[in-house]
């Protein structure tokens, strides 16, 4: 299988604090890769440097065979990389439907036209409804995003990424802050998505990680301490010591 994302020797420091020191990561097409590690391990920072949200200190990133180090987020998005955020980052005063529309619109031929009628754009309606259905918010289209339940907001967060028809989806703690009941439907959604798109998943819910991932990367203080299949990770002594042992 071809390699979709290739990140080599990523380094990032904030002042004297090395948040990422020499992280290397390869993700194959169709894979579901999880990244776990204690709070402050550098997981979200890793997402931020991969998606161009913050600049790297050093290292290289290749995506779909193209060198994309230092490329801005909107360009990466157009190349097929999409992400969701750990803290809800959508458009609270727009409806659920309008939120998804914006995302779908980004891939339409006339998506930034100042002249055309949005509602009449080709495929707009179908694609928007498809994404709404997929994330299970088909009945909440007319609701303002800020009025959705928290669990539904987390799904909308992912829906915004899905509308851009990504090849690689980076999910930053999709179940964070969710109740047990709500996270159940989130797990179903992630499993469904993993059949359609390559996923990198940051997650604290170990059960979820072990269930859905093909490979797991464990980082601690910005360093890789283990990488392998869920079974290998469970057996790894160092991982047990720094992370899983506490559970």
């Amino acid at each position: 299988m071809t390699i979709l994302l290739e990140a080599r020797n990523l380094k990032k420091s904030f002042g004297n604090l090395a948040v990422l020191s020499d992280i290397t990561l390869e993700v194959k097409e169709g894979e579901l890769r999880s990244i776990i590690g204690p709070n402050g391990a550098g997981k979200t920072t890793l997402f931020n440097v991969i998606t161009g949200r913050i600049p790297l200190d050093s290292g290289q990133i290749r995506f779909r065979g193209e060198e994309v180090t230092g490329v801005r987020p909107h360009v990466l998005s157009r190349l097929g990389m999409a992400r969701s955020f750990q803290i809800n980052n959508f458009f609270p005063n727009l409806t659920t439907l309008e939120n998804i529309q914006l995302s779908v619109q980004s891939r339409l031929k006339h998506g930034t036209s100042t002249w055309r009628d949005l509602a009449r754009s080709d495929g707009m309606r179908e694609k928007t409804l498809e994404v709404l259905d997929l994330i299970g918010l088909g009945e909440h289209g007319a609701e303002l995003a800020m009025n959705l339940s928290y669990g539904d907001q987390r799904k909308l967060e992912i829906g915004l990424a899905l509308g851009t028809e990504p090849a690689l989806l980076l999910l930053d703690e999709p179940t964070s802050g969710m109740s047990r009941f709500e996270s159940g439907s989130m797990i179903d959604l992630i499993e469904k998505l993993s059949k359609r798109v390559t996923i990198i998943l940051i997650e604290h819910d170990i059960e979820l990680v072990m269930k859905v991932s093909q490979r797991v990367l464990v980082i601690h203080y910005g360093q890789k301490i283990a990488e392998g299949t869920p079974e290998e990770i469970e057996r790894n002594e160092e991982v047990q010591r720094v992370y899983l042992g506490g559970l």
């Binding site: 998606t51 949200r53 801005r72 987020p73 909107h74 998005s77 157009r78 999409a82 992400r83 980052n89 959508f90 458009f91 609270p92 005063n93 727009l94 309008e98 529309q101 914006l102 995302s103 619109q105 980004s106 891939r107 339409l108 006339h110 998506g111 930034t112 036209s113 100042t114 002249w115 055309r116 009628d117 949005l118 754009s121 007319a142 915004l160 990424a161 509308g163 851009t164």
Partner: protein, 324 residues
């Protein structure tokens, strides 16, 4: 919250505006035709301002820069092209807006919030001071007098724009075109992105939109409408002076927009009408009329954050009481 004025109301207002001057000679004086002409010219600038400030959320304190630029472009193109025709003046002004807009916009839109406010203010003041101090070119504080303008095909068929009636309908025509354009823009895919940028700029870029380019386009639309209004204002008054570039006028644009209701297109135009009318009325009563405008403004911000238009539409919503 969405504030949309129904089409039938707009048509009614348009009809009233179209018929108004016919009653003017008997029912009211020409004074009101004159005032309405000014209100409509301001309305064109305010429509453009609403695209950048109301919809995109970039509150510029330099919109007078484009208004004044339009005025000076009209004055210069009269001399340089030795024409009295409005259309070449507009052409020159739009070209200037393109140049200045790209330059000022390029630097300004890279900043946000208070930095955007002050950068646009600084650029606008640069133009104001240039107009004020380069007396040999601009006439300084004395300004430049313009000839009476014509419309039509230059050098082939031209007709003098009569006062006050001809200019009234000219301004009305431009206002309607400006409104139709802005309405088209905000209903387009592009318009939806503007609102999204106002809501959450970062996420818009993560959806694959080039936020800077989109902000730039919005800035240019507001610049084009700003100079258009400026050309009309200067040619209507037959005069342009540095006052048209002054920051207090930029402040007035903000005041009018907030008072009427930002991000609604109609609101700012309404706000402009109220400020110009009430200002005119109050200034005939007292020298300190700004006190009243100021208090009115404070009350609006406190009790009607969506402006007067927001207040009016809210009442209508309550009547309809739409549960969906």
């Amino acid at each position: 919250m969405k504030l949309i004025v129904g089409r039938k109301y707009l048509v009614a207002v348009l009809l009233c505006l179209a018929l108004f001057p016919l009653g003017a000679p008997t029912l009211f004086s020409d004074f009101y035709v004159d005032l309405l002409t000014k209100i409509m010219i301001f309305g064109i600038a305010l429509l453009g301002y609403d695209i950048i400030a109301g919809y995109t959320g970039l509150v510029s304190l330099g919109h007078a820069m484009f208004f004044g630029l339009g005025g000076y472009c009209a004055a210069y193109s009269t001399k340089a092209l030795s024409t009295h025709n409005l259309f070449p003046m507009l052409g020159v002004a739009l070209l200037c807006a393109l140049g200045v807009g790209l330059l000022v916009g390029y630097f300004s839109i890279q900043t946000k919030g208070i930095f955007f406010v002050f950068l646009t203010l600084a650029f606008a003041q640069f133009f104001y001071l240039a107009a004020f101090n380069l007396t040999t070119i601009t006439g300084g504080d004395n300004g430049i007098t313009l000839p009476k303008v014509t419309i039509g095909i230059p050098k082939v068929w031209e007709v003098m724009v009569s006062r006050p009636l001809g200019f009234y309908y000219l301004a009305l025509g431009f206002l309607v075109l400006a409104y139709l354009w802005c309405h088209r823009v905000i209903s387009s895919p592009f318009g939806k992105i503007l609102v999204a940028i106002r809501e959450n700029e970062e996420r818009v870029s993560f959806l694959g939109f080039n936020v800077r380019r989109i902000k730039m386009k919005a800035f240019m639309i507001s610049a084009f409408l700003g100079v258009t209004a400026g050309v009309l204002y200067a040619t209507y008054n037959d005069f342009v002076s540095p006052g048209m570039l002054h920051w207090t006028l930029s402040g007035d644009f903000i005041l009018m927009s907030v008072l009427g209701g930002m991000g609604t297109l109609i609101g700012p135009v309404l706000g402009g009408a109220i400020i110009l009318y009430v200002g005119d009325f109050l200034s005939s009563l007292t020298e300190n009329w700004m006190i009243f405008i100021g208090s009115f403004f404070v009350l609006t911000i406190l009790f009607a954050p969506h402006g007067i238009l927001g207040l009016m539409l809210k009442r209508r919503w309550k009547k309809n009481d739409d549960p969906a």
